[in-house]
């Protein structure tokens, strides 16, 4: 079998741009899914019962659907539902954010639930409202505790962004597949793609490990 690795070099600009798009998708998804995850978790924990039920239904729906199905669904349903012609990027971002928000909500809920009740009581005994106590005392501890879980979600998400290639978002997987289709250099492009995902993913995982060690709370 012949290998022609020059195909990778020849398309390096396109691959670099696509890698940038993958990173952007990951960062943008997390930028949406962390705050929304906190909000959904808070609704599940503290809201008025009907609101709580809606939040629970949302989490259970999106946590138990294959992401690729959500991506297709967003692509076909969102334009009809909203009447907006969303770009593939916005559509992919929405699908990813819907999925990851559900996971993050569960992560935050578990983290908040793991902080013992006495912490909330100690804060409220000082005269804080429940919202202040959660924001100032419970949440900062919960976040530190769940950092490893958020980190693996982050790395999973970084790889899962490849799924939005099915709706032609020009991220790494899509662009690499396009080049593969044009050049028939299948193994070269798949290997290059694997190398980029791994080389970017591994340091991210290590970075988060470091953050976790740095900000861990000892009790």
């Amino acid at each position: 079998m012949n290998f022609d690795w020059s195909v990778v070099g020849a398309h390096r600009d396109a691959l670099a741009a696509a890698t940038g798009m993958t990173v952007l998708l990951t960062v943008a998804t997390m930028a949406i899914a962390v705050p929304s995850g906190i909000v959904v978790a808070a609704l599940r924990l503290y809201a008025w019962t009907p609101v709580r039920a809606v939040a629970t239904a949302y989490v259970e729906l999106f946590r138990n659907l294959p992401l690729i199905l959500v991506v297709y669904w967003a692509f076909y349903v969102l334009p009809i539902a909203t009447g907006l012609g969303l770009s593939p990027f916005a559509t992919g971002l929405a699908a990813l954010a819907l999925n990851v928000t559900a996971y993050n909500a569960e992560t935050f809920r578990a983290g908040i639930g793991s902080i013992r009740r006495g912490q909330l009581e100690a804060a409220m005994a000082l005269g804080m409202s429940r919202a202040q106590a959660v924001r100032r005392i419970v949440l900062p501890q919960a976040v530190r505790r769940i950092l490893p879980v958020l980190a693996s979600t982050w790395v999973s998400l970084f790889k899962d962004t490849s799924l939005v290639s099915v709706i032609a978002v020009s991220e790494l997987a899509y662009v690499a597949m396009q080049i593969r289709a044009q050049t028939f250099r299948v193994l070269e492009m798949l290997t290059a793609m694997a190398a980029v995902y791994w080389l970017l993913g591994y340091p991210q995982a290590k970075l988060v490990d470091w953050i976790q060690r740095r900000y861990a709370v000892t009790e």
């Binding site: 912490q119 009581e121 100690a122 409220m124 000082l126 005269g127 804080m128 501890q141 709370v217 000892t218």
Partner: protein
């Protein structure tokens, strides 16, 4: 100062017929008790007799199912801002300290003034430093709770409560989770507070503290106060069989240590 002298001061907390249930379990079955300004009231009795429950009802960490609790002449609000305003005037110290593990000792103490009283950072930290000095922990300001001994953590917890400038301090078995060698440092901080005239309600198993520092002692059993009076009466001449039983189980035979 005797109880009688202090009774001329204002009555700060008034419990009348307080009832608390957990499901079918009756934790409190009609408790009457008064706490006056400057007084140290000690709640003693076997585990599960309701003394901690009464303390937790005082700042509405638990809601009562019957009777009433008055703070400075007004019935305790059930929730909202009015309740929060009262909570911040009642400092609370927990058996398990409940320091905030993600904050240094200084920031644990400054947190209340910052968040609840909206003090400026410098002002809150100055006050926190003064409170840490008061409990003898000026040198531990930048330590996290995990780096402090149990006794030191409990003293930080006392400083945290004092930083709110409370009218009353509530202590829920403050030394029960401590190693024997650190109990003394916490009790002496509490004694110093009592000597300054702080009004205190103390749930405790430290009979010597109740005897020597308390102005009034209430003996709990099965959700009721079976006897209350000055420590001299409770410890030297108990009037009920239940009090005598409880004290003799603790090995108390009227001695003053």
């Amino acid at each position: 100062m005797s109880r009688r002298a202090k009774e001329s001061g204002a009555r700060i907390i008034r419990y009348r017929g307080v009832v608390k249930r957990y499901g079918t379990f009756q934790a409190l079955s009609g408790v009457d008790l008064d706490v006056h300004a400057g007084e140290v009231v000690c709640l003693i009795g076997p585990s599960g007799s309701g003394k901690s429950t009464l303390l937790r009802c005082t700042n509405a960490l638990e809601t009562i199912d019957g009777g009433e609790i008055e703070f400075e002449g007004a019935r305790l609000p059930r929730d909202g801002r009015a309740l929060r305003d009262i909570r911040r005037r009642m400092g609370m110290v927990f058996q398990s300290f409940e320091l905030f593990p993600h904050l240094t000792a200084l920031h644990n103490v400054a947190e209340g003034p910052r968040t609840v009283l909206h003090a400026r950072r410098a002002e809150a930290e100055d006050r926190a430093r003064a409170m840490l000095a008061k409990v003898g922990l000026s040198d531990k300001a930048s330590n996290y709770p995990a780096a402090l001994s149990g006794g030191q953590q409990q003293r930080v917890a006392i400083a945290r409560a004092l930083a709110m400038e409370p009218d009353v301090m509530l202590f829920d078995e403050p030394t029960s989770a401590l190693d024997p060698e650190t109990i003394g440092e916490v009790l002496s901080v509490m004694k110093a507070l009592a000597d300054e005239g702080m009004t205190m309600v103390v749930v405790t198993h430290e009979m010597n503290f109740a005897r020597r520092v308390g102005d009034w002692v209430a003996v709990f059993d099965a959700g009721r106060i079976v006897e209350q009076g000055p420590p001299r009466q409770i410890f030297d001449a108990p009037r009920t069989e239940r009090t005598r039983d409880f004290l003799s189980h603790l090995g108390w035979h009227g001695q003053t240590l």
